[in-house]
Structure formats: C-alpha cells, structure tokens
C-alpha cells in the first residue's frame, strides 16, 4: 500500500473553535483505491475533520492536501475531484431518480450524453429500471442510500467522502451498500468513510480511531485487534475510548 499513490495528506492539522480544540495534531495519509475508515465517538471531532477535508471548513493550522491540491488555495479544484454523501439524506426528495441524476451530473460538469450514458448504467446496476421516474420520497430508504452513493461517484471523483452513510439502514442493505463501496474502490476511487458500526469498520482497509480530537490509533483492522488483544473491533474501540 505504501508505494501506492498518496491521495490525502494531512500534517499537524489543528482546528480550534475559540478555546475549544476540535482537532488536535492530526497526521495521516490515505492512498488511492483505499477504503479508509474514520472512527470516533460522537463529538470526537470526526465530522469537523471531514468538513475540512471536503473544503467546507478551513483548518486553524496545518497542512492538508487532497489529490495534490492545497486545501487553503485550491478548493475549487478539490471540489471537482471529490464526491460527498452525508448522514443527512443527500438527494432531493421531490425530484425523481432520473432528475436527481441529471441535476448532480450537471452540477459536476458532465455533458448531457455522458449523464445519459452513466445514468442508464447506474439505474441498470441498481436494478431501478421500474422506478426511475419515481420521486425519491416514494422509494425505500435502502434504495435511497445506494442511489445517493452511486450519484456521489457518478462523476468518477478521486475520493468520495461518506459521513455515516448507512445510518438507520438494515444489515442486508448495509451489506449491499458495502458491495457498492468495494466496486467503487476496485475502480480506483478512494473511499473515506466515517461510521459507528463496528462490523462496518472491519470492512475498511485501514482505520483511524479518534478520541477527543486526537487520532489514538491508526492501522488495518486485524493489526488493531491484535495490538489491543481483542477479539473484534468493538472491543478495540471500547478499550480506546474508555482508557481516557
């Protein structure tokens, strides 16, 4: 993995809100095609860090490079090269599946024919042919999540940021969702995902665990389990969080 192309570089990242430090000295790299899990309890600072990586928020200090673009000066280039899906639902409920595809394809600058072509593939792949003219609010949550992910990677970004993408979704759909993630990673898309489902954490290539704004552990799931003498990620997580 180490000789793969580096796609995210974070050095000495600090983010302060007044006297409160949300992110403290974050240092990590993420490589092309990797599924990078970003774990932490609520309030640990993962959303703050993720917003910085997406260009929604500026760090207080530190170096951040996304796809070799600088977070301070090249946010426009970064925005073109990333996809984003948030824990809040990210498609328009009163638009149909096709209209959502067209809208987001258009926003990311795809040509009409390209949108048509990729949209068709997407609908076929998710087996949504019968529902493509349905409004988003009329389709089940599981479909929505899969669709939201597929639309987030429609413009073939270098990286896609997923902020707790499977919240409230049943285990079967969650597995199908991860199948999509693996497919995308197989095509070379880097996945940066936050989650609090520990079974999901084990699907990641590498994990970082954040406690109180700091990264306290960063490795692949198996090594972490071994290192903390646990039988699964749940235990690792609990040990790390409780220790403090």
């Amino acid at each position: 993995m180490k000789d793969a192309e580096r796609i995210i570089k974070v050095r000495k990242l600090y983010k302060k809100f007044g006297s409160f430090t949300a992110n403290k000295d974050l240092n990590f790299d993420v490589y092309k095609g990797e599924i990078f899990g970003f774990l932490g309890a609520n309030g640990a600072g993962k959303t703050t860090a993720m917003k910085i990586l997406c260009g929604l928020s500026k760090p207080t200090s530190g170096e951040v490079k996304i796809a070799n673009y600088d977070i301070y000066t090249q946010t426009n280039e970064i925005k073109k090269n990333i996809g984003y899906m948030s824990q809040k639902f990210s498609l328009y409920e009163d638009l149909t599946i096709k209209e959502n595809i067209r809208l987001f394809g258009g926003i990311y600058g795809l040509s009409k024919s390209e949108i048509e072509k990729r949209g068709k593939e997407l609908i076929k792949h998710l087996e949504l042919e019968g529902a493509k003219d349905k409004l988003i609010k009329d389709i089940p949550l599981g479909w929505k999540q899969k669709l939201a992910f597929s639309i987030a990677v429609l413009h073939e970004p270098d990286i896609v940021f997923l902020d707790e993408p499977t919240g409230g979704v049943d285990p079967i759909t969650r597995r199908q969702f991860w199948k999509l993630i693996y497919e995308a990673a197989g095509k070379g898309v880097t996945i940066f995902v936050t989650t609090h489902y520990m079974d999901e954490a084990e699907y990641c290539n590498r994990l970082s665990i954040m406690v109180d704004g700091e990264i306290v552990a960063l490795d692949d799931p198996l090594s972490l389990i071994k290192q903390y003498k646990s039988s699964n990620m749940d235990e690792v997580f609990l040990k790390l969080v409780r220790k403090i």
Partner: protein, 367 residues
C-alpha cells in the same frame, strides 16, 4: 453555466411540485386582490341622505323624488340651515347631504348651467366615491328627461369630501397588496427555501460541489424573481381590468421600480436565511419582521400621518412604505420618475445594505 441552469431548473421543479408553495404563490395574490377589490367596490344600499332644497322647483323636486325612489338611498331629513349638516354627519348614520341652489331651474334655462352641491362623509373613502357617482347619475338622468336638448343644459354636481379630502384609501388596496405579496413571495419564500436546504442537509452537498456559493444563492433566488414579477403583473391586471383601478403613470416605470422592490425583498430574504437555521425560524422572522410591519406600518391599512411620532419614524425603515408611495404616485397620480427618486434611492440603499449583510453573514463554510 450549464450546471447553473440545471440548478435553476431544479428550483422550479421544487416550486411547481409543491402544492402548498403553489397556493401561496398564486392563490394568495389572487384571493387577496379579490377580497380587497370587492370590499371596496361593494354596492351601496339605503344610504341615508339629507336634503337642503333652496330651489323648490320642478327640477329639484324631480331629483328628490328619484332619489327617494331609488333603492340606494333613503332620505333621512329635510333641513333648512346648511350649518346643520355637520351635526348630522357627526351622528354618523347620514352619509350625504344634497344642496340645491336657489333658482335652479331658472338658471338652467337662462345660463344652461347650474350646480348642485353634494357633501359626502368620506371617512370611508370608497363608499363616498360610490355614493357620489350614484347621485350624479340620478341627477343626470333627471336632467336628460326634462330637457329635450340635454347637451346644452349642464348641471354640475359639485362634490366635496369631508374628513378625507384627498381620498386616501380609495385605491390603496392595490399598492398595499402589491407590496405585501411581493414581500411575502420574494422574502419569505426565498428565505424558507434556502433554510430548507440547510435543514435537509442538501445545502452541504451543494457547498461541497463545484457550484460557487453565490451561484447557489442566485440560482435559488431567480425563480422567485420571475414568479414575483408575474405576480406583480397579475395584481395590476386584475385591478385594472376587474376593478377599474386606473394606471395614470408610465406602466414600464412602474414595472421597473417593482423589479427594484422585488430585488430588495429577495436580498432581505437571503439575509433572513443567513440569520436562521431552520425553516420555522425563517418563517417566524418573516412574519414578524416583514408581514406585520408591511401591513401595519407601511400606510397600507393605517395612514402613517395619523400615527404617533415614534411609529411614524419607525415606518421609515419599512421598505413597503416607500414602495407603496412609488406605486401610489405612479399609478394613481401619474407622476414621472423625478418625483419618486427619493423612494427609489431608499429602496436601492436598502437592497445594497441587505446584500452586504448577507455576504458578511453567509457562512460559506458551514461551521
């Protein structure tokens, strides 16, 4: 640019697919203008009239007889002294006094012209106009019947509106409704639609996308600009064709300044959306900061001149006050641009101020 157009299209879809939004956009303006319109063009009936007949000749008797027979009027009393009129009006139920001058018929025959004075209680200006026109038409009919050659004979009904000589309020419903509707649609609807995206989380998605924040805001505002403009045209058309409200001034100038007012309202809406994080608070701010002052402090319902000084001063910061003044002057008085420069500049200044505050407050990076 293409991305931007797609974004605007999406905004229109939001509006057209939401039944409630459509009702607010097109139902409310039409209903409102209808309600106000019919409230002021109400038919009159059994209006109490007092008569001072100094002529006591054939023509005056004939007119009195016709008035008595009409279902619109009821003769309350015959008086002798013009000084009594005031007392009748003050009691409140008499709305009109008709005064025939001496030697009416003789004058008519000799000079071809004579006058009948109508004095009206114009507290309710709209009713007063109606009463005046009904009375005048009865007088005309009477004269036409009496003389074979009515073109040569002219009775000039001279009327005087008491208590409200300038007839403030007659057509006031049009400028007032325009101001209210445009504020409602432009400011309230945009602020709600922007905060809705914040609330649903789609704003984050848009901010992460290559669309620039200004594009997002302009994209959200453009549909409402168009719809507000269409509404302004609808309101004017309804008042012109259905309620015969005249447009004396330049129609295009009126429309141009309406656009300025819409822009001002849109920037106000954007500012509200930067101050509130939920649709509900946007709605509350809109109602208390926009709708109530627009209705109460703009001169729409209550004349500003009658307000306590403090409220008069306060009314100056209500944008609708200036817009209503513009519409009134152009539409009902028919003045040129030079007479509304002050109002125009004030609205323009407000527009710049709101945009400035919005830019400062707009959190590009949703902290």
């Amino acid at each position: 640019m293409k991305a931007f157009l797609g974004f605007i299209k999406k905004e229109f879809i939001h509006i057209f697919r939401d039944f409630k939004t459509m009702i607010i956009l097109f139902g409310i303006p039409v209903t409102q203008i209808m309600i106000f319109g019919y409230a002021v063009t109400n038919e009159i009936s059994n209006v109490k009239v007092i008569i001072l007949d100094n002529a006591k000749d054939e023509i005056s008797r004939d007119i009195i007889h016709k008035i008595e027979a009409s279902r619109y009027f009821m003769i309350a009393d015959y008086i002798q002294d013009p000084n009594d009129i005031e007392a009748y009006f003050k009691k409140g139920d008499v709305k009109e006094a008709i005064i025939f001058e001496k030697d009416l018929e003789k004058k008519l025959r000799k000079e071809g012209t004579a006058s009948i004075q109508l004095i009206l209680d114009a507290i309710d200006a709209n009713t007063a106009t109606l009463i005046e026109s009904y009375t005048s038409s009865i007088i005309r009919t009477s004269v036409n019947e009496k003389y074979s050659n009515p073109q040569l004979i002219r009775i000039q009904p001279e009327f005087r509106m008491l208590y409200n000589e300038n007839m403030e309020g007659t057509y006031m419903f049009v400028p007032g409704t325009m101001a209210l509707i445009l504020i409602l649609i432009s400011a309230m609807m945009t602020s709600i639609s922007i905060t809705k995206e914040k609330e649903l989380g789609t704003m984050e998605i848009l901010l992460v996308s290559p669309l620039r924040p200004t594009q997002i805001i302009i994209g959200k505002v453009i549909p409402y600009f168009f719809l507000s403009f269409i509404n302004a045209v609808i309101i004017l058309a309804l008042s012109y064709f259905v309620f015969d409200v005249p447009i004396y001034g330049n129609f295009f100038l009126l429309m141009a300044l309406s656009m300025l007012f819409i822009m001002m309202a849109l920037s106000l809406g954007i500012m509200i959306s930067t101050l509130s994080s939920s649709q509900q608070s946007a709605m509350m701010i809109s109602i208390f900061v926009l709708m109530l002052p627009t209705m109460l402090l703009s001169g729409f319902i209550f004349p500003i001149d009658n307000m306590p000084t403090l409220l008069q001063l306060l009314s100056n910061v209500v944008p609708a006050k200036w817009y209503i003044s513009i519409v009134k002057k152009i539409m009902l008085v028919g003045v040129d641009f030079q007479f509304v420069i002050k109002e125009t500049l004030i609205l323009f200044g407000m527009c710049i101020l709101f945009i400035g505050v919005s830019i400062k407050r707009f959190k590009i990076r949703l902290d």
